[in-house]
């Protein structure tokens, strides 16, 4: 570095002597000039975003050392000594380039800019050395062994003290770390809380009241271990953990977009999902799971044990328009999913932070490019080796036409030994699987136990579960991760890891938060308390089905639609996942995007979630079902008894006395009139009537036949007397025969309120016209004898009760020929309860409607819905 520095300076001096400038500064004077004028400027205006000390290197640029300035950041060298006009720094401070103006707070004054210019002209003498030198080394040259996650984990040294409540050596390390930081370890959670927590974590479902009671009342010393074992043995455990793995595997049932309306369903996608469930149920060792998923064509070539289906891990990705992106997706799911390394970052250039050269990417690329999907094999998801396998060249800058050196098929540089043989067995997928599961691989076990920990504890030990690269810090209590990883890699038993974690004091402590705890350890890195968890989408939906008594616990099979109006009773893991147009229900509840590998779920709080719970037909059906089961279970109509039954059903506990009081009051309040039926078309009916004085409707008879455009009294047209030409369409009509008969366009008010009617009517210019009366409730508010007219009417108005009608009555008058007319009306109803209805007789005209009136929820059902929406239901302590 020194050499580079001095060469740069002397070159710069030569340049400046030749080309410029009166302000040449002698070398020693230069350093002095730097110290007195330049360094203060840089510190004041630049270090905040570009220095090691501030921890910021925006644009990858560090300005706090000579090397930093000369090597520069993502935009190239910041200065070219001797050439201010070619120096990025001058361009930035000059503020002429709108894309690059530094410092961002405002342009420097001219004197300061001049100082920088003179300094660069003088060759930018700069005595600073600083730590930036390390940064100038390429990440590729970094020693992998200098980063914690690349060092094979060893059993950590045992802790010195073991606390009274510690149940596992992991607890002792955590207590030690907590004590060192002054954090107090929480007390154990109470029994009922612990049962709920364990059921949630291991099955995604709530325990029954009896299951809770059995545990709480048991005096067996092994009651907890027995509960853990029984849940680990349940199919629900396998379904829940399989779903966690499906996030890793970016599982979906469709390919995404395909051209020309082709079928997007992936044939047999569910085989992979069901294989995953079976593997978790059987506690298949994780190393075997990996082998099957990468090389099922070797481990079970005829699919005798179903393990060929595991290759869906590779083949269930989105369909891309070119093979390069398909392969990229597979490289990503393998490396981030299994190794916690972001190898896909090295597609176009060497990795920016980790020792992963581009050749590593193309080593894996060669392996996958030497494999192909075989649609008509024993499994539709399988891959096999190509007949011709071979190494592939690096594509420089990621561009296919731009070939670089050949990248031999082999394992990643930083994870293989220098003298390791290259892959030569077919494509190399099998060898790759073996290298990923090898005992000395420092990442595979750590990454997986960290994922399991994340699901059970609610927060991962390593912050970024799919990136264990150089920028990722070790966990606050590193021994916990390493001890689990070492243990896991012995037998690769996932259930054993789960059992160990849920047995710890760390898992079993309470989630209570104290202000002191928040102060000392806001992120809970010290594991001194449990994390309250929110139910994920699957657990929330499954639990709703469960408390409604609707859950269908059958397993496996083709995916089912779950976004229909009526709830589908299957568990959510069996839902059809349409990668292209994922229904909003999934997105609203933070389902893992199925396009790429998903390291962990987001948990957002948005009103759309509440709208689903408040207003969806699915929720109505589930609440009705829960209410009906609760009613049956208590066999009583007493509000107090019903309330208790409902709490036991939904929240799986007895209500407190104040809850009983509130719920009783709620149940005792009379139900309001049913809500306004949404569709204004249903508010209109079309009929004929005998009329009395002032065209008062006396016998409203609905018109019986609809021909597609018009309502008629019967199929026959014109019909016999007295019907004649009578009809009504969206705005026209004809009267029946006889002065005492009329056609009636009728609006029925759904709620009580004030109405206002505005309309237009008219009659063609022959005969004696028609009589038009508009009755609102019991009053005639408008009358007209219309002949050769075309005019607006209203606004007229009045008050109506629910069920009252507004009748537009048209009769022939003295003679019944030439009695065609038109009539349009807009009705605005301002309900006394705040409901507003606006309807237009033309827009809302319709033929026969086979609509079931939405059945209003009774009070008990409304109570069930309230409990199902509650925070207590959505969160697990």
């Amino acid at each position: 570095m020194k050499r580079f520095f001095s060469r740069a300076v002397s070159f710069a001096f030569a340049a400046s002597l030749v080309c410029t400038a009166p302000t040449v500064v002698a070398a020693d004077l230069g350093v002095e000039f730097f110290e007195s004028s330049v360094r203060p400027l840089l510190i004041e205006h630049c270090y905040e975003c570009h220095s090691v000390e501030s921890g910021e290197s925006n644009g990858e640029l560090l300005i706090d050392s000579a090397v930093g300035l000369r090597t520069g950041g993502s935009g190239g060298p910041a200065i070219v000594p001797g050439q201010p006009d070619n120096s990025l720094l001058m361009r930035a401070v000059g503020y002429a380039d709108k894309d690059m103006q530094m410092p961002p707070a405002g342009k420097l004054d001219d004197d300061s800019i001049n100082v920088l210019r003179r300094w660069i002209e003088a060759g930018a003498p700069d005595p600073r050395e600083g730590t930036t030198a390390a940064k100038s080394a390429s990440p590729i040259d970094r020693d992998p062994q200098s980063h914690w996650s690349f060092v094979t984990p060893q059993r950590p040294v045992a802790p010195e003290n073991v606390g009274k409540t510690d149940r596992d050596i992991m607890d002792a390390w955590a207590s030690e770390a907590a004590a060192a930081k002054g954090a107090r370890v929480n007390d154990p959670a109470d029994d009922a809380t612990l049962v709920r927590r364990l059921y949630f974590d291991l099955t995604g479902l709530p325990p029954s009241v009896d299951q809770i009671a059995e545990y709480v009342s048991s005096s067996r010393p092994d009651r907890y271990a027995r509960m853990v074992d029984s849940l680990l043995g349940s199919p629900e455990f396998a379904e829940r953990f399989a779903r966690h793995w499906l996030d890793v595997a970016r599982y979906a049932d469709t390919v995404g977009y395909d051209f020309g309306g082709k079928d997007r369903r992936i044939n047999g996608s569910e085989r992979y999902r069901d294989w995953t469930i079976t593997a978790f149920a059987a506690d298949m060792p994780y190393d075997q799971m990996i082998s099957h998923q990468l090389a099922g064509d070797r481990t079970d070539p005829k699919n005798v044990d179903g393990n060929l289906d595991a290759m869906g891990f590779l083949t269930l990705g989105r369909k891309f328009t070119d093979e390069l992106n398909t392969t990229d997706d597979r490289i990503d799911v393998i490396t981030r999913g299994l190794l916690g390394l972001t190898v896909a970052c090295a597609r176009c250039h060497d990795h920016k932070f980790d020792p992963i050269p581009t050749t590593d990417y193309y080593s894996l690329f060669g392996i996958l490019a030497s494999s192909k999907q075989l649609a008509d094999g024993p499994s539709p998801l399988m891959m096999v080796d190509e007949e011709k396998v071979g190494d592939r060249p690096v594509f420089l800058r990621g561009q296919a036409g731009n070939r670089g050196p050949i990248a031999p098929r082999q394992f990643l540089t930083s994870l293989r030994k220098p003298d390791e043989p290259r892959f030569s067995d077919g494509s190399g997928r099998w060898e790759l699987a073996n290298r990923i599961t090898a005992a000395d691989n420092p990442l595979t076990a750590r990454v997986m136990v960290n994922r399991i920990w994340l699901q059970l504890i609610g927060k991962s030990l390593v912050d970024s579960p799919s990136d264990f690269g150089f920028r990722t810090r070790p966990p606050a209590v590193p021994q916990v991760l390493d001890d689990m990883a070492v243990e896991f890699a012995k037998e690769w038993s996932i259930k054993r890891v789960v059992r160990r974690i849920v047995t710890t004091r760390i898992y079993r402590q309470s989630a209570a938060v104290t202000p002191e705890g928040m102060e000392v350890d806001p992120d809970n890195g010290l594991l001194a308390r449990a994390n309250r968890k929110r139910r994920d989408f699957e657990s929330l939906r499954d639990s709703l089905l469960c408390v409604a008594g609707s859950l269908d616990n059958s397993m496996g099979g083709p995916p089912v639609e779950i976004s229909l109006a009526t709830p589908t009773p299957r568990r959510t893991v069996y839902a059809m996942i349409d990668r292209q147009n994922l229904p909003s229900l999934f997105r609203t509840f933070d389902f893992a995007g199925p396009d790429t590998h998903s390291p962990q779920r987001y948990f957002t709080t948005v009103p759309q979630q509440a709208l689903f719970l408040m207003n969806s037909p699915q929720m109505f059906a589930l609440a009705k079902s829960a209410a009906s089961v609760a009613r049956d279970e208590c066999g009583d109509d007493d509000n107090g008894v019903l309330t208790r039954s409902m709490f036991r059903r939904v929240l799986r506990r007895e209500p407190t006395s104040s809850e009983v009081a509130s719920a009783n009051k709620f149940l005792a309040t009379p139900n309001s009139p049913p809500p306004v039926i949404i569709d204004p078309r249903s508010l209109w009916s079309f009929g004929m009537s005998k009329i009395g004085e002032n065209e008062k409707v006396e016998t409203f008879e609905p018109l019986k036949h609809f021909d597609g455009n018009r309502w008629h009294p019967s199929k026959k047209f014109p019909d016999d007397a007295p019907f004649g030409h009578a009809f009504l369409d969206r705005e026209n009509g004809h009267t029946p025969r006889g002065a005492d008969a009329a056609v009636v366009r009728r609006f029925t008010a759904p709620v009580a309120g004030k109405v206002s009617v505005l309309g237009e009517l008219g009659h063609q210019n022959m005969g004696d016209g028609v009589n038009v009366g508009v009755w609102i409730g019991g009053k005639r508010e408008f009358f007209g004898n219309e002949k050769s007219s075309n005019r607006p009417f209203g606004p007229i108005g009045g008050h109506v009760n629910a069920g009252d009608t507004i009748d537009f009555v048209v009769s022939p008058g003295p003679t019944d020929s030439y009695d065609s007319f038109f009539l349009r009306a807009t009705i605005r109803l301002t309900g006394d309860d705040g409901t507003n209805v606006e309807t237009n007789s033309v827009k809302d005209f319709s033929g026969p409607r086979s609509e079931q009136a939405a059945e209003p929820l009774d009070r008990l059902t409304q109570l069930a819905q309230v409990l199902m929406m509650s925070n207590e239901f959505a969160f697990v302590d």
Partner: protein, 480 residues
């Protein structure tokens, strides 16, 4: 979303969020944050109304309405007239006949007449005669270019800056960065009458950003609010009873929260129910164009596109950040044959409404803070497309896709109107002067919205991603 710790989802207080970002109060426009919060009402107290990324430049436009002319409108028939086409009609092109999606033949003149408009005197064809009345407010970019002549990748490029891989859309980036200014409505809305454009919901996808940054899609052929927003209306519980339900829920939730000390996530979820309750009426109101005056309705004209355009104005008025309007399902502008009648028909659906939108925004002063973008995923060839069996069989009266050169225009917040930027060659085949790639357009849009496109980033899979990836230059001439 409030800022959350991973997985635990514990929202950070604003102070805590700032501390973690290493940003002091002084360096962030806190007053801006607070004033936005105040506008958004009680909802904003948990920082929902605040975006995730502080702006880098003064904001010129707060809202975007993107008029997406899907299918590819012909630029030489709309905003980029070429006299040479009439002269050379029927003759082979004097320049290289560039390779497009399908075989093309001789030069085809525009069937439409052009006129100069406004003080700027920019020429516009009869297809957009009404929009043309606003030319003094419009900045036409005639030198747009993209990568390939196919719809799917070009739609993805225009919407997400990446033709093949799954990446967040422009609207997702902006709502991620700036947040919402009205928590009772979705921040990013995409409307298309009658169904999806091709590529469907990928056009407004959130990619690796959290799911809430994906647009809420609305089939604007529906007229009723319940057809427009999921679960916005309740069919089974009377409003008064729903209020009683929520009061009871609140009572239970408060007791639950108090027993657990302080957990902001519990508070947030309590608040979300109240938000949802308010949204039922506010969203209904926002989407109800019948509340507009008869004059306004007449100004926008009939049809689904007009209705969705008017809805767009109502949404932007209420603080919705990004509204994208597609011309129609499929690809209405993709006129490989019968271009004269087909383009006339499609333009007829949109011209009046677009002109009305610009008038309306101007009248209300909203144009100053709203960026209106017009354009397709590419343009069309100046040469005729050759007939092809099973497609435009027996016809030679349309144009093929053209990604080498096309037009889009911008108007509103921070845009210097009344000018044309860049130029295509003498036939309008290829952008030759001051070429503007889609990435450059994106960089410019972000700039108008207050962002340096190189610094609006999101960490994902080991690196910081941005809309423009490693590309993009701000087109300075656009900026007022």
């Amino acid at each position: 979303m409030s800022n959350q710790l991973p997985m635990t989802g514990i929202p950070l207080s604003r102070r805590e969020a700032l501390r973690r970002c290493g940003v002091g109060f002084g360096s962030l426009a806190l007053t801006d944050l607070l004033s936005r919060s105040a506008l958004a009402g009680p909802a904003a107290k948990d920082s929902l109304a605040v975006g995730e990324v502080p702006i880098h430049f003064p904001v010129k436009a707060k809202y975007v309405i993107h008029l997406f002319m899907n299918g590819g409108p012909s630029h030489v028939d709309t905003f980029d007239p070429k006299e040479a086409l009439a002269k050379l009609h029927g003759k082979s092109a004097p320049i290289e006949n560039l390779k497009t999606e399908r075989p093309t033949g001789s030069v085809m003149q525009s069937p439409y007449t052009f006129k100069n408009y406004g003080e700027c005197g920019l020429p516009v064809s009869e297809l957009f005669a009404k929009t043309a009345e606003h030319m003094d407010d419009i900045c036409v970019i005639r030198s747009m270019h993209a990568n390939v002549p196919n719809h799917e990748p070009s739609l993805m490029l225009m919407n997400t800056g990446e033709a093949n891989l799954v990446r967040p859309s422009l609207g997702s980036w902006l709502t991620y960065g700036l947040g919402s200014a009205n928590e009772n409505l979705p921040a990013f809305v995409a409307m298309c009458p009658g169904g999806y454009p091709i590529k469907e919901s990928q056009n407004w996808q959130n990619g690796f950003l959290p799911g809430k940054y994906q647009a809420t899609y609305i089939n604007s052929a529906g007229e009723k609010i319940e057809q427009l927003i999921d679960h916005i209306k309740n069919t089974a519980v009377a409003p008064a009873d729903q209020r009683r339900q929520l009061d009871l829920l609140d009572q239970f939730n408060q007791a639950h929260a108090i027993a657990r000390g302080s957990d902001p996530r519990l508070e947030s979820r309590i608040e979300a129910f109240e938000l949802a309750y308010r949204m039922q009426s506010e969203a209904s109101e926002a989407f109800d164009v019948s509340r507009e005056s008869a004059e306004t309705l007449a100004m926008y004209g009939p049809g689904d596109f007009a209705r969705q355009t008017l809805i767009a104005r109502r949404l932007v008025e209420r603080g919705v950040r990004f509204v994208q309007l597609y011309t129609g399902a499929g690809q209405p502008w993709d006129n490989h044959d019968d271009l004269e009648t087909a383009h006339r028909e499609v333009a007829g659906r949109v011209d009046q409404a677009i002109a009305a939108l610009l008038s309306d925004l101007k009248r209300t002063g909203l144009l100053e803070e709203t960026l209106v973008i017009w354009g397709g995923e590419f343009g069309r060839t100046p040469v005729v497309e050759m007939p092809k069996e099973g497609s435009n069989q027996g016809k030679m009266n349309g144009r093929d896709h053209n990604h080498y050169g096309f037009t889009c225009w911008l108007a509103g917040g921070g845009v210097k109107g009344g000018q044309a930027i860049g130029a295509t060659d003498e036939l309008g085949f290829k952008a030759v002067e001051n070429r503007v790639h889609v990435h450059d357009l994106h960089a410019t849009v972000l700039r108008l919205m207050g962002y340096d496109h190189k610094r609006l980033t999101y960490p994902y899979a080991g690196r910081d991603f941005r809309l423009t990836d490693v590309h993009g230059h701000v087109v300075d001439e656009v900026l007022a």
